[in-house]
Amino acid sequence: MTEITLGKALNAGLRKAMSDDEKVVLMGEDIGKLGGVFRITDGLLGEFGAARVIDTPLAESGIVGTAVGLAYRGYRPVVEIQFDGFVYPAFDQIVSQVAKLHFRTQGRVKMPITIRIPWAGGIGAAEHHSESPEAYFVHTAGLRVITVSNPQDAYRCLQQAIASDDPVIFFEPKRLYHHKGEVDLSASLADAPPMGVARVLREGSDATIITYGAMVSTALDAASAAEDDGLSLEVIDLRSISPVDYDTVAASVRRTGRVVVAHEASREAGVAAEVIASITERCFEYLESPPLRVTGHDIPYPPAKLEKFHLPDLDRILDAVDRVLDRPNSLTGAES
């Protein structure tokens, strides 16, 4: 085991995937000499050359569209979109081409493209640099959508995404790029859980908090704080938000009967809405109270000085926990 940052783990995952399969090529803006604006591709140009680490023109649709052509020819392109808010110019190529070609061709054309997106807020960035567009992609059949919350998963899931014959939107929580954790760089993918499997990070009996990405650490902090208050909270990291591992989710909900789903993305028609609807369909009779969402507001991502009021924090999560447990909360007041 080695202690490295999530960013270094992604770099190691890319290196391993490129070494294992010469059909893996990287494409993106500034990924060559600069190593990417977040340095995730650092050193790979020198190791693998400009034909496999391709610095592209500044054109997101062009990056994804040419990746489609490379996939037609049997390559496994790994595309870097520089920031979450820059993915929209490529939206047509992703949802109309990448997502649909396997289906349209009755499975004759595979699109094993991994689209890496530094994602979500909390770093005080400029406009368009802190968005959470995951629901758009979750809503699109043909795509898989993966997030990671720690260096070990980052190393493993990125390799699994690249190895998958399906296209994968791979969201990297940029707020965690510098977070360190233990990574087993020698672990075999064959022995690892598939990238679609959710993980129970902390077991508990009073309520289940379901989340993903950078919000996982906030949820864990909330669970620790709640423990001081005598509450036992279970925390689930979904890891895959399309498809969601509902077996793991439902097993937890059947035990705790109470659910809070938290994410940074805005609320309306978001991932939390989908997760709660599915929980309601599958385990309604186990629910002790209506599941609740803690999300970003339904506003454009706010200016950096105001983002802390937008992002769910420990207190907003605990308030929702109080509500699902019918404890005194922001709606009922402290006295009730």
């Binding site: 023109p57 649709s61 040419t66 020819r73 047509d92 109309s96 399906d166 498809p243």
Partner: protein
């Protein structure tokens, strides 16, 4: 360049700025740039091109008829564009890979499409009509211009492997307004990818005339991206073939991308849902009728004594056979099982889609039991 001398892209005057080998009346003209590329084309090959165009026009007419009879949901006619499609597509090598738009009936015919392949998508049976790997043609693209980027990416792969192939993409004049087509030219030029862009300027993007897309001949844009281009008379099958051979030789020689604008005309509607009488001057249509690509080659061959009535009758018989087979294939298509809609959404097992398939299978079987 003064406004007076800047050609615009939609008037008859700028037609004279395109390269040709056969005049509209079939007379062979000297063209020092293009002639060497078709010096080997003899009378037999010319008759084969004529036959191709006659068959293509029949396929197109049958497609329209099948739509009118309710057998197809839609058809995108290509009448008038036979020379642009057959001339360029017959210049390709089998190893080349084509990324077409939805109107390239003649291109997929030249690549070996079977009778059912022309109608499968428009009948609503499947998303792609043929195996792309087998025909070396991508599925017909409906999103305007999206396929140009796919061709460039494919060509980047060719270049990476130092393979002798060329990627070719077809699109219309309307597509040149799309960001993707412009991005494709940037990528193609930056990486010197072996790709040929074939723009069939058929003068109309549904109801929008080409002047709405471009106030300058479309081929004139490519040099601005660093891509050499040729503007040819798209109703002259020899000029189209020569242009394509030039472009393919350029790309195969490692000199990077090339661009062809074939100046032609869509004689029919955009699709069978369109009504061009609402936006098009009938006089314009009649003017283009005098430039018919099939009549032009036929006149040339007859004038040189290389075409008999028997040749034409044989080609028309082949066209009728194709139309019959196309109709039979269309009417004989068997729609897949309802659960087939869940197939191939993903390449690997997917718990979400697997669950929906199971739920729907249970529902369907409950109907059968009832």
């Amino acid at each position: 360049m003064s406004p007076q001398t800047t050609p615009i892209a939609d008037s008859t005057q700028d037609l004279e700025l395109s390269e040709r080998i056969l005049a509209p009346d079939g007379t062979r003209q000297k063209n020092p740039d293009l002639d060497p590329f078709v010096a080997d084309v003899d009378a037999e090959q010319l008759r084969a091109l004529l036959r191709d165009m006659i068959i293509l026009r029949r396929i197109d007419a049958e497609g329209v008829a099948l739509q009118r009879q309710g057998q197809l949901g839609l058809w995108a006619p290509c009448q008038g564009q036979e020379a642009a499609q057959i001339g360029t597509a017959r210049a390709l090598d089998p190893i080349d890979f084509v990324f077409p738009s939805y109107r390239e009936t003649g291109v997929i015919y030249a690549r070996g499409a079977q009778p059912g392949d022309f109608v499968r998508v428009w009948r609503g049976e499947e998303g792609a009509p043929f195996d792309p790997a087998e025909m070396r043609v991508a599925p017909l693209q409906i999103i305007i211009g999206a396929q140009t980027l796919h061709a460039v990416g494919y060509a980047m792969g060719i270049k990476h492997e130092k393979a002798p192939e060329v990627a070719v993409t077809y699109f219309g004049d309307g597509a040149t307004s799309q960001g993707d087509v412009n991005e494709a030219m940037v990528f193609a030029a930056s990486y010197q990818a072996p790709v040929v862009f074939v723009c069939q300027n058929n003068h109309w993007a549904i109801s929008e005339p080409v002047a709405v897309q471009s106030q300058y001949p479309i081929a004139g844009r490519a040099p601005g991206f660093g891509i050499p281009s040729l503007r040819v008379d798209g109703n002259d099958v020899l000029a189209c073939m020569a242009a394509m051979r030039w472009a393919l030789a350029h790309a195969r020689a490692g000199k990077g991308p090339a661009f062809i604008e074939a100046v032609t005309y869509r004689m029919g509607p955009h699709t069978t849902s369109d009504d061009p009488t609402r936006y098009r001057d009938p006089a314009e249509l009649e003017a283009w009728r005098t430039r018919d690509p099939i009549a032009r080659l036929e006149a040339h061959l007859r004038a040189s004594g290389e075409l008999s009535d028997a040749h034409v009758a044989a080609a028309q018989a082949d066209a009728d056979t194709m139309a019959r087979e196309m109709r039979a294939a269309c009417l004989g298509m068997v729609t897949r099982d309802p659960l087939a809609v869940f197939d191939n959404v993903y390449a690997e097992p997917h718990c979400g889609i697997d669950r929906q398939r199971d739920e729907y299978a249970a529902y369907v079987s409950s109907l059968e039991e009832a």
